[in-house]
Amino acid sequence: MNILAFDTTGESCSVAIKTAEHCFEKINHEPRKQAERLLPMIDDLLVQANLQRSDLDGLALTHGPGAFTGVRIAIAAAQGIAYALDLPVVTVSTLAALAQGAHRKFGWKQVLSALDARMGEVYWGAYQADDSGLMQSVHSDAIGSPSQVHIVDEPRTGWYGAGSGWGVYLDQLPPVNVSHVLTVEAFDIITLALPLLKSGHSLTAEEIKPVYLRNKVVRS
């Protein structure tokens, strides 16, 4: 199964392709350049992987939360690719992908993901690793003030923090060990999406939806 995955919801643009044998990954950290970089990076990785567009079997991406524009770049690009190539799609939470990255890098099993949502708020979610090493949500992704972020389940210890929210609101967030995992790497999206793609729990291009969490966007 050849899977293409990408993330444009945060500060970076990350793309990965997984084939039966190998995984290829590229990440670009220039802020606000995701739209410019995304397709050239995908195109390069396909060449590296020696694949044609038609060799792709599935698409995976983060659907948010994150920067609104970045979320829509991901969704619109995924719609275009999946529609053209009739690809099944799996979308995952940006917060889940962050937690998965923290698990992969540091072996952490309990992660509080928090992203700076501006306006004094964070997007956050709590994740725990299951037996197969996949981070599962134990508290629905939410938006709120940093003081609302809490450890949600037993055990009360052994929790770690990941994401840009910790850089901004460290003193207001729960006192846990914090990593330097700040951005999503597309490889972790594939890890989360692969079982769903294999079991057919996927979406069509038309069914892909952005997840903003902040839905009050007009002052009234």
């Binding site: 195109d43 567009r53 609104f68 829509r72 719609q79 275009g80 690719i81 529609y83 053209a84 291009a205």
Partner: protein
């Protein structure tokens, strides 16, 4: 060459298929007017959120109505600017990715070139050269068009666009959103001679416009001592007359300066019945033929983008894999760029 056109620069999601041989195959449009009505103006974030929900349903409709398969599409054209950054990015990201996936070329189109060339979709189409009046909620500009891609800016509004003035005057008069078209309907029953509003910048040479002062004149009319709601149709008619007179004077001046015999009028305000009728009648007297797009293509639409994109592609232009939009993008820079 079958070209898919995608327009998402403001509050309309428009898609169309244009064939270089058989012409326009079909178009679909979703207008967000109802979405923004509550706020009295376009809310950019809401516009972007809506575009991303509409693209695939509209593309499905378009392919079904034209009985064409997506693989028959030879190229994709998309509006890259000017317009709302977030809204433009949705259409551009979708269009560019779709084209890449099918291994087809893509072309970034200038929204105003789309409007400018829209009358060429009609029959009879104007031949080059011509003077073009682009008049919408965002723009009031006069161009001398010698050929496709050869656009010389003759003049433009130094403040509000004509359509913007219509909308703001309508809002001041308490008309529902969008105020401009409502004002034009109200004007049909009013006396355009009742109020004397200025014809801004017509007493000076040059081809620039200024419409913000007209708004103020409307405000004074609304605040006068003997004002009653019965005056509203007269205010509307007098306001419309002032805008139409001003546009007419400047068009005549531009046609004379360029020694042109044809005038093309496009953009949302070109749907205004009074403007259409008076330009046709009064310019016919001096031997000028006036061309308009059909009503549906006066406002934003995908057909004009598919058409302009097709012409650019036929001239050997195409756009790389980077998704780049230009919220502010002078048409003159675009033509130098391509």
């Amino acid at each position: 060459m079958l070209v898919l056109g995608i327009e998402t620069s403001c509050d309309e999601t428009g898609l169309a298929l244009y064939d270089s041989v058989s012409g326009l195959r079909g178009h679909t449009l979703y207008s967000q007017i109802a979405l923004h009505q509550t706020y009295g103006g376009v809310v950019p974030e809401l516009a972007s959120r809506d575009h991303v929900e509409r693209l695939i349903p509209l593309l499905n409709d378009l392919l079904r109505e034209t009985n064409l398969d997506k693989n028959a599409i030879d190229a994709v054209a998309y509006t890259a600017g000017p317009g709302l950054n977030g809204a433009l990015l949705v259409g551009a990201a979708f269009a560019r990715s779709f084209a890449w996936s099918l291994n087809r070329p893509a072309i970034a189109v200038h929204h105003m070139e789309g409007h400018l060339l829209a009358p060429l979709l009609e029959s009879p189409a104007p031949t080059f050269p011509f003077v073009a009046l682009l008049v919408s909620g965002g723009h009031t500009q006069l161009y001398f068009v010698r050929d496709i891609g050869d656009y010389a800016l003759l003049g433009e509004s130094v403040d509000d666009a004509a359509g913007e003035a219509f909308d703001k005057a309508g809002k001041m008069m308490g008309l529902p959103y969008p105020g401009g078209p409502r004002l034009a309907i109200l004007a049909e029953t009013g006396n355009p001679q009742h109020f004397t509003f200025p014809r801004p910048m017509t007493d000076k040479p040059g081809l620039n416009f200024s419409f913000s002062g007209l708004k103020t004149a409307v405000l004074y009319a609304l605040q006068q001592e003997n004002f009653s709601t019965a005056c509203l149709p007269d205010i509307a008619a007098s306001f419309q007359e002032a805008v139409v007179d001003t546009l007419l004077i400047k068009c005549k001046r531009a046609l004379l300066a360029c020694d042109a015999k044809r005038l093309v009028v496009a953009g949302g305000v070109s749907a205004n019945k009074m403007l259409r009728a008076r330009l046709v009648d009064e310019l016919a007297e001096i031997g000028i033929q006036v061309y308009y797009p059909r009503q549906a293509f006066c406002t934003d639409n995908g057909a004009m983008i598919a058409f302009a994109g097709c012409l650019q592609l036929q001239r050997g232009h195409s756009t790389g894999l980077s998704i780049v939009v230009r919220p502010r993008w002078p048409l003159v820079q675009y033509t130098q760029h391509t």
